[in-house]
Symmetry: C2
Amino acid sequence: MRHEALRHEHCAIARSLSVLGERWTFVVLRQAFMGARRFEDYQLGTGIARNILTDRLRSLVGENILERRPYAEHAARTLYQYRLTEKGLELYPILLTLMKWGNRHGGFEQGPPVRLVHKTCGAETEPRFVCTNCNEDIDPREVTPVTAEPAAAS
Amino acid sequence: MRHEALRHEHCAIARSLSVLGERWTFVVLRQAFMGARRFEDYQLGTGIARNILTDRLRSLVGENILERRPYAEHAARTLYQYRLTEKGLELYPILLTLMKWGNRHGGFEQGPPVRLVHKTCGAETEPRFVCTNCNEDIDPREVTPVTAEPAAAS
């Protein structure tokens, strides 16, 4: 994996990127969240070359982000589908924040390509990021990062 | 830029990644949000090779994510600092979601490397992602993506 160097950083952002940072990986994940299951769904939805797509799907299965399950048997071979695991589903906020920023700064003169409807309440939604404690919007100027103390030698 | 192919996708996630997807770009942005200003702050904070760092800073200035401002004049040269623009500050939710997922899945046996304190309320916070309309947490199974109609020919 070309992002291997990031995996050993003592930084959660770097470690996420070591898993997710290959080109096209987020586009493959987008298709998973849009409902893709079979290899052909991913291929049609992304237009990625088949060998690259094969590699990305395999990596994501290896990271336990996608699960590979048989869904049909043909005379000659078994067909598989690729579904998000719980760990994969937890990537959703990352995809949404990338989407929100891209909607705003991606040069879409005709408006966002995709809108989100929250089934629970029926409204079109553009998710907000709020503090777990006070429910106010999170502003970077109002957050202090505190670096954890190194663990004491035992 | 190696992620150029993503720039022309009709997808906000892909367009965000076309700007942000180079290796180390998020690590540079992390330093900016941690308070880095001068080249040396970024270099010490990331350990990135100087030529790569120079390239990433230049790209981010070119995208109007960082602003380059003179802060001192020496006999021989002007020194610059690199600060987040408003467009750059809007990347904060992306960094936080990458951090949150990495904290959980990055293999940090001693706990998260960085914790966040919300100055507004004084509490340690792990931001939540909520619907703009109903304020409930956003679950991917409860969101329907609606693809925009292509614009009518005029």
